[in-house]
């Protein structure tokens, strides 16, 4: 029987963090409150808005519905791990969001970028329909969907080696 705080090792953005978590702590809480990685946003906290999306083993999941203790041994990526860790150079998706105003208030943006990254990692030439379907679980209350989809299309081109800049 395990009761109270439990030691876990979380691999986040390639770094191992050893910490003690309570079983009821969500991954979102743990990333923000214990690791200070506040790029992961918490909005609805019921799995409806997608703002807390992180990648686990390369796939988008809702960190507000995932218990931190379940993530032992899994590879977690947050928005803080998307840019090049050495040079700080932005990922093409981030670059496109900056250059083409992919965000307004910005709260949905980290999750949009991560979900788009997971899509482009498995499909380098998505159609507009593929992009809209992949991002259907990410709600943008500013209603900036048209530009967000364009940003993903442009970054897909950049990643295929088309244009150097968005």
């Amino acid at each position: 029987m395990i009761d109270g705080a439990i030691p876990v090792t979380l691999r986040v953005n390639g770094d191992d963090y050893q910490l003690e978590v309570e079983p009821q702590w969500t991954l979102a809480d743990t990333l923000r409150e214990r690791l200070g990685l506040t790029g992961t946003k918490m909005m609805c906290e019921q799995g409806e808005c997608g703002a807390c999306t992180v990648l686990i083993n390369g796939l988008p999941v809702l960190s507000c519905l995932t218990l931190a203790i379940e993530c032992q041994g899994m590879d977690i990526m947050t928005i803080e791990g998307v840019a090049d860790p050495q040079t700080g150079e932005l990922h093409p998706i981030q670059q496109a969001f900056v250059e083409r105003s992919g965000m307004q208030c910005g709260v949905c943006t980290p999750a949009m970028v991560l979900t788009a990254k997971a899509l482009l990692d498995e499909n380098d030439s998505p159609t507009e329909g593929d992009i809209r379907q992949a991002l259907a679980g990410n709600i943008c209350r500013c209603g900036n969907y048209k530009r967000i989809v364009e940003c993903v299309q442009v970054s897909a081109e950049m990643m295929r080696g088309g244009k150097a800049h968005a």
């Binding site: 395990i2 079983p23 019921q46 999941v61 218990l67 379940e70 379907q133 992949a134 259907a136």
Partner: protein, 286 residues
């Protein structure tokens, strides 16, 4: 959420023993239903038993003779993308792809969708139309229960203390079979079904050799529309017979008024979607 005890058994046997010992426990797999319920205070388990570490529970096995066997931990994404399920049981891939969103599909499991026992659960009309069974394990051994007999009411199942769903068995489909799952929602993604209809048809030319129809959100639990099936079985497909089946399905349903839709609207939907699903399943069966 209130403080929890946490258990992570390594085997099914161990999980069953823990479930018997901790009567206030809830099993967690993907957590996409349970964690929401815990946050909203609808579920207040004293401990959670995480079954994710049990080896082999995410396996998808298919043979021509025995059909499909899914481990309880197979995710919606795995079902949606599995070539063999897409080919042999396309209705199930359709249902998995209509559940929640990509994020939810990456965590939500077939065992969880079954055991949460929501009348709106997307995979259940598909499983009912496929005549699937739940494989249940306990210290006493293994038993198989048809999915149709698995639910006793909203959120309620026939599972006894110490029992765990280890997987799903789907019998092989005969040649000339087709199946569709139709889901009516307000929003295209991330919405619960106002009505969900699963239909599997086995055709002999334009004769319905066999047909199974299942309805979600049409009663306190997911149901088979047996009178509608009987109206079609052995009959030649035409508009009149499909109309009769759709009316029978409405008569044997008991939808309720809720925030999402009125019972009256749901009855209209049942008639429309049953007719559409049966036609599409028959066309697929070709």
């Amino acid at each position: 959420m209130t403080a929890l005890k946490y258990l992570a058994p390594a085997t099914l046997k161990e999980a069953c023993a823990l479930l018997l010992e901790h009567r206030d426990a809830r099993v967690i797999a993907g957590g996409t239903d349970l964690v929401v319920q815990m946050k909203q205070g609808e579920a207040r388990p004293g401990c959670v038993i995480n079954i994710a570490a049990i080896a082999g529970q995410d396996a998808i096995n298919y043979t021509e003779r025995d059909g499909l066997r899914l481990g309880a931990l197979v995710t919606m994404t795995a079902i949606r993308t599995s070539p063999i399920i897409n080919q042999k049981y396309n209705i199930l891939s359709q249902a998995a792809g209509k559940l929640g969103t990509w994020q939810v599909q990456n965590r939500a499991t077939i065992g969880g969708n079954l055991c949460n026992a929501a009348t709106s659960a997307d995979t259940i009309p598909a499983l009912l139309a496929l005549d699937a069974s739940a494989v249940i394990v306990s210290a006493k051994g293994e038993r198989e229960v048809p999915v149709e007999d698995f639910f006793t009411g909203p959120g309620k199942t026939i599972l006894s203390p110490g029992e765990l769903v280890a997987g799903i068995r789907v019998p092989p489909l005969p040649p000339h079979s087709g199946g569709v799952y139709l889901k009516h929602t307000v929003r295209k993604a991330l919405d619960l079904a106002i009505i969900g209809v699963g239909a599997v048809a086995v055709m002999d030319g334009d004769i319905f050799k066999d047909v199974r129809i299942a309805l979600g959100t049409a009663a306190p639990k997911p149901i088979r529309a047996r009178n509608a099936e009987a109206a079609l079985r052995g009959r030649k497909m035409d508009d009149n017979i499909i109309e009769q089946a759709a009316s029978a399905a409405v008569a044997e349903s008991s939808p309720r008024d809720s925030l999402r839709a009125t019972a009256e609207y749901r009855r209209e939907l049942i008639a429309a979607l049953v007719a559409r699903a049966v036609r599409q399943a028959a066309e697929q069966a070709g």
